[in-house]
């Protein structure tokens, strides 16, 4: 597990090796740590604006001893748009998951980028923007790994106020971008959270998502 200080050291290490300035977005446990919602994370999840930036980051990380790691092991073969994964240390203790715009079944949209207000600059060349908590819920729903449900539970319980409209609107936006499963995945994920972990999700949110999925199915039928 990587703690807050180790995470900062890792990012600073890579920043020092970067040859040009790049802007990246932190999602997942990394973003939760920067929001003060978590103390440790298994991996550092980053989203890049383009392939060129991701390659620059990869190159810098590899120069520090990181090597590629099979993403099927963590995400499973069924998941599309898996990240490039780099790992280092005993038992791959330090791991980077590097996404490029596509985060499994979601896009890291322009709206999400605008909402990522908190920024952390590492050295001269690495500008890290932290995904908003609402978007973290969506991204966690996309990755849907063992710990993701618990993380969303923490986000909902600890964040001062969740504006469910932002989440619903973004899922609708994802459908218009071509991620047709977005509302369904979100609906299913939230429903499971409510049922299995008793997370406080207003019933009208799930109802609205079900309506959206139904509407989407009818439109497809026509």
């Amino acid at each position: 597990m990587i703690n807050v200080n180790e995470q900062q050291d890792l990012l600073l290490g890579v920043a020092k090796k970067l040859k040009k300035e790049i802007v990246v977005y932190a999602i997942g446990g990394t973003a939760m740590m920067f929001h003060g919602l978590k103390d440790t994370t298994k991996d550092i999840d980053l989203v890049f604006n383009n392939e060129e930036d991701r390659e620059s980051f990869e190159e810098a990380a590899k120069s520090l001893g990181y090597r590629e790691f099979d993403s099927v092991i963590v995400y499973g073969a069924k998941k599309e748009n898996r990240p490039v994964m780099l790992a280092r240390g005993k038992g791959e203790a330090e791991r980077f998951d590097l996404f490029n715009y596509n985060v499994i079944s979601f896009f890291f949209s322009e709206n999400m980028k605008k909402r990522a207000e908190n920024t952390f600059e590492f050295g001269q060349n690495l500008i890290l923007k932290i995904a908003d908590v609402h978007d973290l819920i969506l991204m966690k729903c996309a990755t849907d790994r063992q710990k993701d449900a618990e993380d969303v539970q923490t986000i909902i319980n600890e964040s001062q106020k969740i504006d469910w409209n932002i989440i619903i609107e973004e899922s609708k936006h994802q459908v218009t971008l071509g991620k047709t499963r977005a509302t369904w995945d979100l609906c299913d994920f939230l429903d499971r959270l409510k049922e299995e972990l008793n997370v406080n999700i207003p019933p009208e949110v799930i109802n609205e998502l079900i309506n959206l999925v139904q509407k989407q199915a009818e439109e497809k039928k026509e």
């Binding site: 807050v4 900062q8 020092k16 003060g36 920024t119 952390f120 050295g123």
Partner: protein
């Protein structure tokens, strides 16, 4: 909480060498600190902490000490010499924000609504000024004017100005700062290089805002300034 502390002590005495119990103690301590943080997140004096936790002064000091050990507490001394505790989970992240740089030099103190922190190097005054301009917030701009008192790396300011395309804003704010305080003098080379053409169209620093009091400066730099004399009550106007 006191009850919990007693449990730790008993467990510690009996089973210090048991590794799993040690882990359990750490986990419980973390959980208790989290609970404490949740109750105290915000800005407080010691009296407020005593009220919230319903404890005496010594206990309140102890709890603040514990949160400080985790990095959650920043302390400031108010004008009436009282200690004020800023207790936020984000304090633990370290680094230095541009707001902190501005607050160090400005009579107007800014509260952080969003973060921009720098790690691995010391953020410069010149960068803080550019950050303030790009924030497009009246209060941040007003506070950042005092940076001109200390800015002396005009080469760096020139580079950052051109990189961020804020030449007119920097020029206009510099002239404005000279009206309200003593500043270091901008080099002629930089000034000439950032002056707009005489027939250039007006731009806006913040959309929809313009000045009633600093028309001359607006005319020189062909940019609308979102500030008036009344915004500088905390500065001593020349």
């Amino acid at each position: 909480m006191l009850k919990n502390r007693k449990v730790y002590i008993i467990v510690l005495l009996d089973l210090t060498y048991n590794h799993n119990i040690y882990k359990l103690i750490i986990v419980t301590l973390i959980m208790e600190t989290k609970l404490l943080l949740k109750k105290l997140e915000g800005i407080h004096t010691i009296e407020a902490v005593m009220d919230i936790l319903n404890v005496d002064k010594n206990k309140a000091i102890y709890y603040i000490y514990r949160l400080r050990k985790w990095g959650y507490v920043k302390t400031k001394v108010s004008s009436d010499k009282k200690r004020v505790y800023y207790i936020y989970r984000k304090n633990r992240l370290g680094g230095k924000s541009y707001y902190e740089v501005i607050n160090l030099y400005s009579p107007i103190k800014l509260a952080e609504s969003s973060f921009y922190k720098v790690y691995g190097r010391e953020p410069t005054l010149e960068e803080a000024l550019i950050y303030a301009i790009k924030s497009k917030k009246v209060r941040v701009l007003t506070a950042a004017l005092s940076l001109f008192k200390h800015i002396d790396n005009w080469t760096l300011l020139g580079e950052l100005t051109r990189k961020n395309h804020v030449e007119r804003s920097v020029g206009a704010l510099y002239d404005l700062s000279r009206k309200i305080m003593k500043t270091r003098r901008m080099t002629k080379k930089l000034r000439d290089s950032i002056l707009p053409e005489k027939n250039a169209k007006f731009a806006e620093m913040i959309e929809g805002f313009k000045s009633k009091d600093f028309k001359e400066i607006e005319e020189t730099w062909k940019i609308r300034i979102p500030l008036n004399k009344a915004d500088f009550e905390d500065y001593i106007i020349k």
